[in-house]
Amino acid sequence: MGKNVDDLAQLKQFKEWFDNRHEYAKKWKKKTGGKVVGYYCTYVPEEILYAAGVLPVRILGSHEPESITRPYLHDMYCPFCHDTLAQGLEGRYDYLDGVTLAQSCLHMRQSYFSFVDRVPNIEWDYYLPFPHGVTNPYAADFAKHEFENFKAAVEDWLGVTITDRDLDRAIEVYNKNRELMTKVFEMRKADNPPITGLHAMYMVVSSQVVDKAEHNEVLEGFVEELQDVENDREIGTRLMLIGSEDYDKELFELIEYGMNYPATFVFEENCTGARYFWGLVENGDDRLMALAKRYVYRVPCPAKDWARGDFFGRRRFQFIEEVIKDYNVDAVIIAQMKFCDPHELDIPALREMLDNMGVTHLHLELDLTQPVGQFRTRVEAMIEAMGEEDLFI
């Protein structure tokens, strides 16, 4: 008799870290006496912070209605920007020593600068320019140069020197995390994937808010235990999630656990899923160039993949196409954060690609909280349209 994934101690740990991320960071700080830096956007080279003994944590929202960000952010900036800033203004990030942003989109930048200006406990901040066109042949050189400045700023703030050895250690820890999470994702290619999208979200997002070395220890056990997992749930329609950051458990609970028809996410192509950890740092003599190449050549965010694709082509689309085939995806849910311009610009081309591949897709617009009833109707209607031929008599 196989194990039930929900009973695994490792999964419970991921969920615990996800639910109590602020408490974790506070305890870590107390235990180690180290600094905690919040980061906006997954283009921040966390390894440099980690090499200096800093705990990098991703700044996330709470999916609760708020009304305190309007003086600083335009109404038509995305709900993620509002939600993250609200957390800072409400004092939930009162343990942060610093905050940083790798340039991604204008909404995020505005939220970041407001966070820097309005959250009183921030003693260090760093705006990290990052190339917009990651398909540009000079992008890695640009990123390397900026990473040098970033490293120098971290050293200056902490009064330390980040050696190559420190960087090697950090790269090793981060690569291990990436490798292990990729292994878990690979298991989802199976006819009966051991985990759901909700489980994957807990795993990936918890890795963004805890010490990676600690996360690796749990992950190693998780990978091992998953070999013996036997699912008793009906997998149903194999879904792929494509889009903006999505760590709203309500959405996963609705689609995977709360519908009239069984459905399971087998892959999440977003920055709280595969886009965060896919692709290793190929370390070499020039550590910062190795890091630069990893971040520039990773599966890109639509904010970075817009440039003319004459160097590498649209890498994100190529990646999506491969995943759909490898993971035997039946249908795609495009979940885009409301007002997220980069995604909005990409979606027409994405739809066209999916249509050409003959893959069913549905577009949902995410907000601070989700219209559960309407989403349910749409996803169920999509699944109904994919089958039920025998009901037309």
């Binding site: 109707t377 749409r378 209607a381 109904e384």
Partner: protein
């Protein structure tokens, strides 16, 4: 003593009907569909896939009680049929998950597609369902199977609930509003928003400016029609085109949609507000037959 005469202008007539020419006991499969919408609830009984009886009632605060009320009213009208005599009950609509006695639930998108073919014939390819708080543009094949659909987002602007509010504000019975809105010499500009709250403020401004009720209604329905056409164009309109849901009875909205699309909507064979419940009942028949195989 001052007496205040209150009138509920938004209130549309509830209806119950049974086909007296048929004997339900002769039927092999008796199926029932319940479309529990945000504003109205329809229950239909079909005998071997043909419409036999229906009730169209207002949805109350309890979904389960609303479904029960509609089914009971219909059964009472039939007379000798009990709920147990029905072979299969399918629930649809916004409140479908809250119908305790439904054997299965199917989305209103699938049901309106299926029901539209029954109500309008198998030539229909584009179905616009205009309900109490949703607008849905649905493309179907000749069997009424959904090929593609689009639904309005969270906001219920330009839907049935909005029309109820405007009718109340102008003290016009909702059943007369459509016809009245066509009594204008020249079509006015649409109100700038279909958002119920903002439209209400804008309409109050128009009243103060001295606009007549016909003109105000025309401006509001013009805006509703524009919003609907935008949704339809996103999904792609293919003739033949049909409208289901409560607003299909509002000639003021329908006529304006037709004008904007340059297409005439099909004439219904049955009450188009019943399409969702009819679709559900037809699926119920298929499910019953499938279960017996």
């Amino acid at each position: 003593m001052v007496t205040v005469q209150e009138s509920e202008y938004w209130r549309w007539p509830e209806s119950i009907w049974v086909d007296e020419s048929k004997n339900w006991q002769d039927a092999e499969v008796i199926s029932c569909g319940i479309d529990l919408g945000s504003v109205s609830t329809q229950a239909v009984v079909m005998l071997d896939g043909e419409l036999y009886a229906y009730a169209n009632m207002r949805t109350g605060t309890s979904s389960a009680a609303s479904a029960e009320k509609a089914v009971n009213a219909m059964l009472e009208k039939i007379g000798d049929m009990k709920r147990d005599d029905i072979h299969y009950i399918v629930g649809t609509g916004y409140g479908r998950v809250s119908i305790p006695f439904a054997q299965k639930t199917i989305t209103e998108i699938a049901c309106h597609g299926r029901g539209a073919v029954y109500v309008y014939g198998d030539k229909v390819r584009t179905v616009l369902d205009m309900g109490g708080q949703d607008l849905k543009a649905i493309k179907v094949d000749s069997r009424g199977k959904v090929i593609n659909f689009l639904m309005n987002d969270k906001c219920a602007a330009g839907t049935g609930r909005g029309i109820e509010v405007v009718c109340d504000l102008l003290s016009i019975p909702i059943t007369e509003a459509g016809q009245l809105s066509l009594q204008v010499d020249e079509e006015p500009e649409p109100v700038s928003t279909t958002c119920v709250v903002f439209a209400k403020s804008e309409i109050l401004g128009l009243i103060r400016k001295g606009w007549g009720k016909e003109r105000i209604l025309a401006a509001f329905f013009n805006a509703v029609a524009s919003r609907v056409v935008e949704l339809l164009e996103r999904v792609g309109v293919e003739p033949e085109f049909a409208i289901t849901g409560g607003i299909s009875k509002n000639i003021g909205v329908v006529k304006r949609i037709e004008d904007k699309l340059g297409l005439k909507a099909l004439e219904p064979k049955y009450d188009p507000q019943l399409a969702g419940a009819i679709g559900a009942a037809l699926f119920g028949r298929a499910l019953y037959i499938k279960s017996k195989k």
